[in-house]
């Protein structure tokens, strides 16, 4: 079906419904509380009156004559026997009663005060003021108008109080809604503006209901159960209550029943109408269903996460989307996503039939909805005729349907390789959480992606699921490819460096390939290069007895741009006092000239996400297409070389000689004794007090320092026996995975456990566990773990370790919900801001928020770690090697604070999964 003419909304005005309006728009007056007669037909003037719209297919609406889906439904109305207060307006009513005179109804402001209000209003008009300003002003005005004596007629005023939820009292005497309504009627129209009410769209007495609109049946459809019983909507139930009490109230009043009975019924009617609007009104019990479940009335339909706004308007369920588990595939480009055949046959792309493509599309339709899957061939699920009719293509009708298609038909074709889709992983915290990929249809049941795009999605493969959306129009495809394509997001606007880049095994792979220039024979070199695009086997570096040999650095150079040059220090650099540069015996000084890797090791600092310098420079200087090619090639080359070289790690990587173990034990023993000595000194008052600290604090600081050193020392001793040839060390040093601290905790000593940055102290009276003496301040008693993860922990150590670990868990849980809430608040504050052509940042009202974007007008995505220009880099490009002497190539900022970012992302990992609304906590998945 063609979409209607799109129109621009000029303005929206909200106003109160007057009783006249309610009656005028009513298609049927509702009188009886019965809904259906014995034959199951709706009763006229009942809540299911056929004038209110149709819900049963085949029937026609008695008001407009249309069928289901065409009739929008029509309101009815109930005339209330007695007026009733609308809960939604009690605050407003209270304000009005307090600010106006009980006898003459005028706003109790003298002329000067009115003048002040007018001038302030005029100022808002001229100088700009938003609705909050105006609301504040009318609130202040109403407060000013609360006077003891009316300035107009001199009547003394009594105190108006509100008995929640809907009872007004004047000096303790109850005011009936009727009385309240009479007072509001007396307020003259010109006195309403200062109170924040537009007299043209609302009269205050309309806040007291005399007629109640009955929503169309389409809003509260009844469902027929299997047992052919009818089950009514909660709103209908509530309206039945209202009608019943309204009826009884009218009868009693007309029959002249005692005042007490009438009042009781009146109050009951008030209760039902109040809960009809909001069944969670504080101060009254919620109305319940027969089963005891509280009814979902009007406010409940709108409010909260499950309400209309958050679940149907801000976010909705969509077609042409899929969700499944993800898994890695280094064979894919970073721009691609692997889609399972099963999903590809469900997800479709609409194609317009033209004279040019008619024959091809006919053939496509002939294949039907399930053509051969080896090789995969796309079929067609639906054909849409120009009149909007959809025809489902089946194996049976495929041939005949194919013959009927003509230009201006639309066919819905299965996904095929190259289709544009949006790929997304929640939580969508930044724009890289949803990027455009091109499809590769493949067997299996998971979405496949290149590992380099894991960091922007923050994805891993321990059961993560992702969503995929098929873009449905040519414009959307163009927009997605230009703005959202993965390669356009290699640079992150968060820190002006690459966020897409090699991780884990890719880094290990290039490390093995290039470190100390490993040699490869022809077979190995070909194996490494076989999957790499557009690359020839280079000239061999030398011959040996086995024939021609290639070096790893030479092989790596094949994927660099031909004129590429860069110099930097690798991750494995040990930061020697005097850098020997090219001659570095650790092979940590990377030098690339004319696209040849002359020296150094390619590790995290070169190609890693967040830090990769080569990646950073290629993206900046050669563009995103080259960067994509480089990343795709690095992925394949790294996987190739790690397979040729072989790589594995295990707990025996942390094996150290017995001699070293003994050395560590002795050293730790010494440290523990030293702590005992300190404690002794403290007890004897011989400790030298630190400035600004108590004796006890001094002891703690000293002990922490000592034990900290001891752990480092243990790490150092262990480290002496863990060279870079060790797989675990190679990973830690090259930045692939893990850290040297992790290793020293496995091989050497775990160290002091802490809660809130202090040694453990809580638990029992004056001690952590009953295994220790009361008041024991020694290392062991307060959470120092001498063992390593590998040697195993003693029971007390294990307990202390759990205490420390618990803090971490609690921390993340707390931080998560808080940061999720904070993010939502920030988004709603910033969502409508826009960078204009003149460089200013403005909101939708076109007010200026910032005079120059970011104050310097620099796009952080294109910045160099936040700076507009990288002077050193330009110098080196212009002057060549000479400039290198001048430039501080030592520690480039790139990745400087990226490390912090990465840590934040990692801790926030489980985080967003269960980030909920601040007050309500949700439980997330198990990933």
């Amino acid at each position: 079906m063609k979409r209607g003419v799109s129109k621009r909304i000029g303005s929206i005005k909200f106003a109160c419904l007057s009783p006249d309006e309610i009656r005028k728009m009513s298609a049927a007056k509702i009188i009886t509380a019965d809904t259906y007669d014995d034959d199951g037909f709706p009763i006229e003037m009942g809540l299911m009156d056929p004038h209110l719209g149709v819900i049963e297919p085949g029937l026609r609406c008695k008001t407009c004559g249309h069928k289901v889906d065409e009739c929008p439904g029509h309101f009815g109305s109930i005339d209330l026997a007695m007026p009733v207060i609308h809960v939604g307006y009690v605050k407003e009513i209270k304000k009005l009663l307090q600010a106006t005179c009980k006898s003459c109804g005028r706003l109790m402001l003298n002329e000067d005060e009115v003048k002040v209000f007018r001038s302030k209003m005029d100022q808002f008009e001229e100088l700009g003021g938003d609705t909050t300003d105006i609301r504040e002003l009318s609130k202040d005005t109403a407060k000013d108008a609360q006077k003891q004596i009316c300035p107009h007629c001199g009547t003394e005023q009594k105190k108006i109080t509100l008995d929640k939820p809907t009872t007004f009292r004047e000096d303790g005497h109850k005011l009936t809604p009727k009385e309240v309504r009479e007072r509001l009627e007396r307020i003259p129209a010109e006195d309403l503006t200062p109170l924040g009410i537009d007299p043209l769209s609302c009269r205050p007495e309309w806040m007291i209901l005399t007629a109640l609109p009955v929503p169309p049946v389409t809003v509260r459809p009844s469902i027929t159960l299997e047992s052919s019983d009818r089950s009514e909507d909660d709103l209908t139930h509530k309206l039945v209550d209202v009608l019943r009490i309204n009826q009884r109230l009218r009868e009693n009043r007309d029959a002249g029943a005692p005042q007490l009975i009438v009042e009781d019924l009146w109050e009951l009617l008030q209760y039902h109408i109040t809960t009809y609007f909001d069944n969670q009104t504080s101060g009254i019990p919620p109305a319940r269903h027969r089963s005891g479940r509280p009814l979902k009335t009007l406010v409940q339909r709108l409010k909260g996460k499950e309400g209309r706004f958050r679940s149907n308007l801000s976010g909705k369920r969509v077609n042409f989307s899929a969700r499944t588990v993800i898994s890695p595939d280094p064979g894919l480009s970073i721009n691609e996503v692997g889609v399972p055949e099963e999903a590809a046959r469900e997800l479709t792309v609409p194609v317009n039939v033209t004279k040019a493509n008619l024959e091809t599309l006919k053939d496509l339709v002939k294949r039907g909805p399930a053509p051969s899957s080896d090789p995969y061939l796309p079929g067609v699920n639906y054909v849409i005729r120009p009149d909007g009719r959809r025809i489902r293509v089946t194996d049976k009708n495929a041939e005949t349907v194919a013959e009927t298609i003509e230009p201006n038909f639309i066919i819905e074709r299965h996904l095929k390789d190259g289709d544009v889709v949006l790929f997304n992983r929640q939580p969508s915290l930044h724009r890289m959480s949803m990027m455009a990929h091109t499809v590769r249809v493949m067997p299996g049941k998971t979405f496949r992606l290149n590992l380099c795009v894991c960091p922007p999605y923050n994805a891993d493969f321990d059961g993560d699921e992702m969503n995929l959306h098929v873009v449905q129009s040519e414009e959307a495809r163009a927009e997605a490819m230009i703005l959202m394509k993965v390669q356009e997001h290699i640079m992150s606007p968060r820190f002006g460096g690459p966020i897409i880049g090699a991780i884990h095994d890719h880094i290990t792979g290039t490390f093995l390939l290039t470190y100390q220039n490993r040699k490869f024979d022809r077979g190995q070199a070909l194996a490494i290069l076989s999957k790499v695009e557009n690359v020839q086997l280079p000239e061999p570096d030398f011959q040996d007895k086995n024939g021609p040999m290639w070096t790893g650095k030479n092989i790596f150079s094949t994927i660099l741009p031909k004129d590429f040059r860069i110099t930097f220090k690798a991750s494995i650099c040990e930061k020697c006092n005097v850098c020997r540069k090219d001659k570095c015996d650790k092979d940590a000084y990377v030098r690339i000239r004319n696209g040849q890797l002359l020296a150094g090791t390619i590790d995290e600092k070169a190609i890693g996400s967040f830090k990769g310098r080569i990646l950073d420079k290629i993206t900046r200087d050669y563009g995103s297409e080259q960067a994509r090619l480089f990343l795709d090639n690095v992925t394949r080359m790294a996987i190739g070389s790690i397979m040729v070289c072989g790589f594995s790690t295990g707990i025996d990587d942390e094996d150290i000689p017995e001699e070293a173990t003994r050395q560590i034990e002795d050293m730790l023993h010494g440290a523990v004794n030293e702590v005992d000595r300190l404690v002794e000194a403290y007890k004897n008052g011989e400790l030298e007090q630190m400035p600004g600290r108590s004796m006890r604090e001094t002891l703690e600081v000293e002990v922490m320092r000592n034990l900290g050193n001891a752990r480092d020392e243990a790490g150092k001793i262990a480290g002496k026996h863990l060279g870079i040839e060790n797989a675990a060390v190679a990973m830690a040093r090259s930045g692939a995975r893990g850290s040297m601290l992790n290793l020293s905790q496995m091989a050497g000593c775990i160290g002091q456990q802490a809660v809130r940055g202090e040694r453990l102290s809580r638990g029992y009276w004056n001690r952590t566990l009953p295994h220790f003496r009361k008041g024991d301040l020694g290392a062991q008693a307060k959470g120092f773990v001498t063992n390593s993860y590998k040697s195993g922990l003693t029971p007390t150590e294990f307990f202390f370790h759990s205490m420390g670990g618990r803090e971490g868990l609690v921390d993340t849980a707390v931080r998560t919900s808080r940061s999720g809430y904070m993010q939502r608040r920030l988004i709603s504050a910033l969502e409508d801001l826009k960078l204009k052509q003149d460089g200013t940042v403005r909101n939708t009202a076109d007010s200026i928020i910032q005079y120059h974007y970011g104050e310097d007008g620099v796009d952080p995505t294109r910045s160099v770690a936040g700076e507009a220009v990288d002077v050193d880099d330009i110098l080196m490009d212009v002057l060549g090697d000479e400039a290198e002497l001048l430039a501080k190539i030592e520690e480039k900022k790139v990745g400087g604070y990226a490390t912090v970012e990465k840590d934040l992302m990692e801790t926030g990992e489980e985080d967003a999964e269960e980030a909920g609304e601040e007050p309500e906590f949700e439980t997330g998945g198990e990933e």
């Binding site: 001229e126 005079y851 104050e855």
Partner: protein, 86 residues
């Protein structure tokens, strides 16, 4: 609210420089930015900085424009304007 501040907040090193624009300057700023007054960010007449400026310039009327020059992490110096409101 303190009517006459005891301390000159403009001398505090965390408070950026505030300056009252003359009518001509204000006009120039508005025409340069191609905006009307209601589109500018606001500053309250009761703001401590305005109180101090009033000592120098006499009463500052609603609708005047204040130039604020602050140090910027990205651009060294950033100039902004605020409209005085009640």
């Amino acid at each position: 609210m303190v009517e006459t501040p005891q301390f000159n907040v403009l001398e505090h090193n965390l408070v950026p420089e505030h300056r009252l624009l003359s009518d001509e300057e204000a006009e120039a700023v508005l025409s340069k930015l191609k905006v009307s007054k209601d589109q500018l960010p606001k500053i309250r007449k009761s703001d401590a900085c305005i109180k101090i400026l009033e000592r120098i310039n006499g009463e500052i009327k609603e609708g005047s424009i204040i130039q604020i020059t602050r140090n910027s992490k990205t651009a060294e110096v950033a100039v902004g304007y605020r409209l005085v409101r009640g």
